[in-house]
């Protein structure tokens, strides 16, 4: 049956390539989001190729210049080229987003697997996670960065702390339902060692939802980094990030709002495309959606 419908579904090429059920339709919006994200990633990763100027070169003669051929987005209060800073700034912002998502997912997966499988550990772990979830993420990050000083790695760790509990909850709930499955019982009764059961039988169930979760964490980490910088707690401005470019622009906002709006626009478009891709992935992976399609 499945093979027949797969063969007759027009335009199912991409969906089939991604291992999705037949008839899954991907609208045009996710493609635009993907293109936009790829574009932003490319221009920031290859910022040295595209930047017209040195992002940290001070030029007192060119303070707060409007857009021109030489400075496409104008200059900031120190005469630095805003376009170059936004391009380079994306490197730090994207690094923080991706690294936070990766660390939070790996740590959350490990803790969640243990919590889901060992009842004894579960109660304790979940109370700790509840406590971490009760602390507003920005406040936790603010406190950690304030005490440990702001560097790329401390900012990443500070944001990771408040993202881990969400991953743990997700993984745990999946493990709790998967461990009742016959194949897990069979593995246990065959005397399979615990790490093998966790890794080979339970972990794969969590992969798809975790990919979706990772996109949301990445988006949220980019936003929190911006907030930290904006509050004056982020990485120093000699390393531009989208957040600290906007923080720099605060003083001169009334004079030159574009100092906040340009980096803000690029950051928002980046986070928006990540969120759209996350939503698309979630909708496609949702088993209830599959049923509806069928």
């Amino acid at each position: 049956m499945a093979d027949v419908s797969r063969a007759t579904t027009p335009g199912g090429g991409i969906a089939r390539l991604l291992g999705l059920p037949p008839g899954t339709r991907i609208g045009v919006v996710p493609w635009i989001a993907l293109a936009m994200l790829l574009f932003i990633v490319l221009v920031t990763v290859f910022a040295p190729l595209f930047s017209p100027h040195d992002p940290i070169a001070l030029s007192p003669l060119n303070r707060l210049k409007p857009s021109s051929a030489e400075f496409p987005l104008g200059t900031d209060a120190y005469g630095r080229d805003v376009l170059s800073r936004v391009l380079y700034g994306g490197q730090v912002s994207l690094l923080i987003g991706v690294a936070t998502a990766a660390i939070a997912v790996v740590a959350g997966l490990a803790i969640g697997l243990v919590a889901g499988f060992f009842r004894l550990a579960d109660a304790l772990i979940m109370r700790v996670m509840d406590a971490f979830m009760a602390i507003p993420p920005v406040l936790l990050a603010v406190a950690l960065v304030a005490i440990h000083g702001a560097s790329v790695s401390s900012v990443i760790l500070a944001i990771t702390f408040s993202e881990i509990p969400r991953v743990v909850r997700l993984v745990r709930s999946i493990v709790l339902s998967a461990r009742e499955e016959p194949y897990v019982e069979a593995a246990i009764s065959l005397g399979t060692r615990m790490p093998v059961i966790l890794w080979r039988h339970l972990m794969p169930n969590t992969l798809a939802p975790l990919i979706v979760q990772a996109t949301y964490i990445c988006a949220s980490a980019i936003l929190i980094e911006a907030i930290l910088s904006f509050l004056g707690l982020g990485i120093g401005t000699e390393t531009p990030s989208w957040g600290n470019i906007m923080a720099d622009g605060r003083t001169y906002f009334m004079l030159k709002p574009s100092l906040i709006f340009w980096p803000g626009l690029v950051l928002s478009l980046c986070v928006l495309s990540i969120n759209i891709l996350g939503d698309t992935a979630r909708d496609m992976l949702d088993p209830r959606m599959r049923k509806r399609e069928a």
């Binding site: 009760a134 507003p136 928002s268 969120n275």
Partner: protein, 313 residues
């Protein structure tokens, strides 16, 4: 039901105890001597030594923890290092602007988000739905302070309808309060509306698939009545939950918004404390906001059991 409520209240204790432990450890696991950090770079060794003594840092760490907890149980959040006044007094002094703006923002959010989410569910898969979902994703993706600055630029700087920043208490006149509070509240609202509208839509879509909705339609009940009376009422529980959990987001947002609009609330208090390394105030603020978050969620859980006849434990 009473048994459940008691159990639910008791469950708050371990969570808050762990929050307290985390808050304590954040400061104590710092490399280096907290007294030296607090005293600052200009302090003499004698000053640091006396500060160590007065902070009780010469006691074993578990003794310090329990002393601090004992203090907390008496409702005492400690003394600000910067101003020398009690943290309780500082917070009591600064909390009203924050609460007023947060409250205004919640009211505005629900008033905007629930109709939007309902519209999206009603027009599921069609144009109206797509528009609402687009607004909602966008609301998640723009940092609050960028929203704030756009609003300032448009309504305060260009149109000159509203003040750029500042705060007036409602006691100074409701009109003036609203004039100053509306932009900060709208700024906070952006992400909150996104979250609530999404949840309203999802929850309502779930309910609209139920048999009793079809029955109501078959009986010839008007569409609007089905949507509002049969649909929305039964979809209310997850919506209420998200309004509650979104409260944490609001508390984070307050820090940013008060900084943008120069509002003398607890968000500004926190940032000032962070800049001055005023640890007791930072600790107190984290405990307070976590406490509010836990309390709000507790109240919502209890509200379900009382108001929703379907939920029985």
């Amino acid at each position: 039901m009473l048994g459940y409520i008691v159990k639910r209240i008791l469950a708050v204790i371990p969570v808050m105890a762990i929050v307290a432990l985390i808050v304590f450890l954040i400061l104590r696991l710092t490399p280096g001597d907290p007294a030296a950090i607090i005293a600052g770079d200009t302090a003499t060794p004698d000053q640091i030594a006396s500060l160590r003594e007065s902070m009780g840092l010469n006691e074993p760490i578990y003794v310090q923890f329990f002393q601090w907890i004992g203090q907390l149980l008496h409702g005492d959040l400690g003394t600000s290092l910067l101003s020398g006044t009690s943290v309780n007094a500082l917070i009591a002094d600064r909390i009203w602007p924050t609460l007023n703006i947060a409250l205004l923002s919640i009211v505005m959010s629900v008033a905007i988000a629930v109709p939007l989410g309902t519209l999206a569910a009603w027009r599921h898969g069609r144009f109206g739905d797509h528009v609402v979902m687009a607004i909602s994703v966008a609301g998640f993706s723009v940092p609050a302070f960028v929203v704030g600055y756009v609003l300032i630029k448009v309504f305060a700087a260009d149109l000159r309808w509203l003040p750029v920043q500042g705060y007036r208490a409602p006691s100074q006149g409701m009109g003036e309060f609203l004039r100053h509070a509306i932009l900060p509240a709208m700024t906070l609202t952006a992400a909150y509306v996104a979250l609530t509208a999404r949840m309203t839509r999802a929850s309502l879509l779930n309910v609209l698939g139920e048999d009793y909705i079809r029955t109501a339609h078959a009986k010839g009940v008007k569409d609007v009545t089905v949507l509002l009376r049969h649909g929305l009422r039964n979809a209310a529980v997850p919506i209420l939950t998200v309004v509650g959990t979104g409260f944490a987001m609001l508390l984070s947002g307050v820090v940013v918004v008060e900084s943008v609009f120069n509002i003398p609330g607890i968000g500004r208090l926190t940032i000032d404390a962070v800049m001055a390394r005023d640890y007791p105030v930072i600790q107190g603020m984290i405990l307070l906001t976590s406490g509010i978050y836990v309390l709000v969620n507790l109240l919502i859980d209890i509200a379900y059991t009382v108001f929703d006849p379907r939920i029985r434990y």
